[in-house]
Symmetry: C2
Subunit: 399 residues, 2 copies
């Protein structure tokens, strides 16, 4: 019998995929759907960076270096240095999106059966890369009541077994928006050094911090060999389709190992490397406008949410997501109901049920993730919808 | 102790990587190095396809669909149909290069410990994807004396164990240039059906067939559920840096499983999808010129090689590679010596030792792979170098 692999069976489908047909149906009925479910920013990609691609002058679209163009790696090192991060171009391997950085990191550091600890709720696709690498995810739960702060050190200690090889964080966090404090980063450093663990630090949303400064894992003194930074230009420059990320590490053995995986797939995409290289030259104040825009949206979203009876949403310190606790029975059912049975003034919203972000079964049932990637006007309309929806949702349930 | 993974240790480095520093040294000494070692075509990427990228008009570089833009998938299905291949757009998942198609195919069909049979010599990076997926490669040897024809069916039968799940072919072949005949494809069909195996068919060089018509594995009647096509635009349109490939299968369960891996990495690169979509509209005679050019080069290369005493090179039926048997002790040593100790009129050549393409230890020691990706003038000069080099190489050894 021709069977698919067990790995293929274990591979989780996208948690919102099952909702897509309902969104399509709603649109067919003429209902406008506000997409709060995905992290696709509406912010324009910087024109100067797009123009760099428009103006390329080569005649043969060649493979780039497997680690990415050296000129781009050198530029990217400048970008990190400007932010006070101690990174040399020789620490950088350009990857096909942040996704590939995660996969290469897992593949190079971890073997099948090894365990990684991830504070939950976490970015759902970590599960996919863990399955691809045969790695077991052990969640440590963070809670909405504390704004999804780093769980206490004892929780990590309890989760560590002889098979534990790494901790994965996303800072600022997707899906919670939580920004780790320097003190929390120090706590993590102590754990990884004490237990000889790798720290995979996903800093895709580094530019978007509102409640304080970003503290990069690359700046954890004494943990240079433990830290593997996973980065991407997707959110930074609103360039998700470019598929340009980076794996950064000072651990030479890991670097050389990741390079073998990078060589096997030949090279990262050429066009978007041009864009990414040009983007480093954007004026220093480039992010001010974007950040101000996201901050305004965050405040509208959170303020509106917390005014709805029975809703609680901690104010996220970074990224462009928030998790809200709703007075509902089941976030998967609610998300489907919003698309299938609800509309207000011919409009509805699509949200991501938080169940998809927890590894522990049963958690997230009354939580949804909302991405504030819509302009303030649309965001207000989306909140009007949510308000009305919660008034009439049949599965309403106060905590 | 922070260790790299066993998988990372097993991951093979690029077989020509160790030669790169010698090539760089030679260039520093002012020696011109003819690169016959890599499959980076010098043919220009079609201008119309490059122009399509120059003329993009979006303002946000968004994620594409995880399976690739639907408009491109529909176009690509047209391309296949024009070639007489029975492919619908719903069978296609656009991947990041052919590389990702191989990885997704392995991940979705095979589990760690499963075995795949590959006629050797084979594309060295299959080893890398096998290691990433935990899969064991079992080679079946093809021989230079028969021009690297498909090994006899008994050899496959001998190699099949209860753990065998698939056969991998590359047609026309990299590194041998061998073009499988329709009869050989039928033989393969009988094997995969009899033993319930998947057939991974890498058809990256489909356009470049000189000794007959290409017979795609997609046209094997009755094996629709067994066949997984791995494709790429890299060689077809000289667009290696675009990183656009495709996995094509009529097996719905495999398709759905591959989609889960595709969703985890979000999307293939956007810019080069524009290029690839535009390229499908090139005039029908577009490949005639390129094919004629490669044919001319093939004949120069093979004719010149076979005139050198002690050298044998079968005339390849496709792709742009040839494997030549040389009167040498060790192809790795010879390749290094060419760069380190040899030059003729301030020129030398870089070749790929064939040892890197065999899984069986000891094979390929007197063989090298030559890519005819240089213009005819350079190719003649490169052959002059080889001729002279073999006259004086200290490790000369007649068979």
């Amino acid at each position: 019998m021709l069977n698919i692999s067990n790995r293929g069976k274990l591979m989780p489908p996208s948690p919102i995929r099952k909702l897509v047909p309902y969104a399509e149906e709603a649109k067919k009925k003429g209902i406008k759907v506000y997409h709060l479910n995905i992290g696709q920013p509406d912010i324009e990609t910087p024109k100067a960076a797009l123009d760099a691609v428009r103006n390329f002058d080569f005649k043969v679209l060649e493979y780039s270096h497997s680690a990415g163009n050296e000129s781009y790696r050198r530029k990217l090192a400048q970008y990190y240095k400007k932010l006070g991060m101690d990174v040399d171009y020789s620490h950088i391997i350009i990857t096909t999106g942040g996704s590939e950085a995660i996969l290469f990191g897992f593949m190079s550091c971890l073997d099948p059966g090894d365990e990684v600890i991830i504070p939950e709720p976490f970015y759902a696709n970590y599960n996919g890369f863990a399955v691809a690498a045969g790695v077991v995810v052990k969640p440590v739960t963070s809670y909405i009541e504390t704004g999804f702060a780093l769980p206490p050190i004892e929780e990590f200690e309890k989760a560590i077994t002889p098979k534990t090889k790494a901790i994965v964080i996303c800072n600022p966090n997707n899906p919670t928006g939580y920004l780790y404090s320097p003190k929390e980063m120090e706590t993590l450093k102590n754990i990884i050094i004490k237990h000889d663990l790798y720290l995979f630090s996903d800093e895709a949303y580094r530019e978007f911090c509102y409640s304080g400064e970003h503290f990069s894992a690359m700046n954890l003194k004494g943990a240079e060999n433990n830290v593997i930074l996973m980065d991407t230009i997707s959110k930074r420059y609103s360039a998700c389709g470019g598929r340009i990320g980076a794996l950064v590490t000072k651990n030479k053995l890991i670097y050389d190992t990741v390079m073998k995986f990078a060589q096997a797939r030949l090279s990262p995409p050429s066009f978007a490397q041009i864009l990414a290289e040009a983007a480093v030259d954007l004026p220093d104040d480039y992010f001010n406008h974007t950040k101000a825009e996201y901050l305004k949206r965050r405040n509208i979203l959170v303020d509106r949410l917390n005014k709805i009876p029975g809703v609680f949403c901690p104010r996220p310190g970074g990224a462009f997501y928030a998790i809200a606790k709703l007075p509902i029975d089941d976030s998967d059912k609610f998300a489907q109901w919003l698309l299938e049975h609800f509309s207000y003034e011919q409009q509805t919203i699509m949200v991501a049920p938080a169940t998809g972000f927890y590894a522990t079964n049963g958690l997230g049932k009354n939580e949804v993730r909302l991405a504030y990637v819509l302009d303030t006007n649309s965001l207000h309309k989306a909140m009007n919808c949510l308000e009305k929806a919660l008034e009439i949702y049949p599965g309403k349930k106060l905590a």
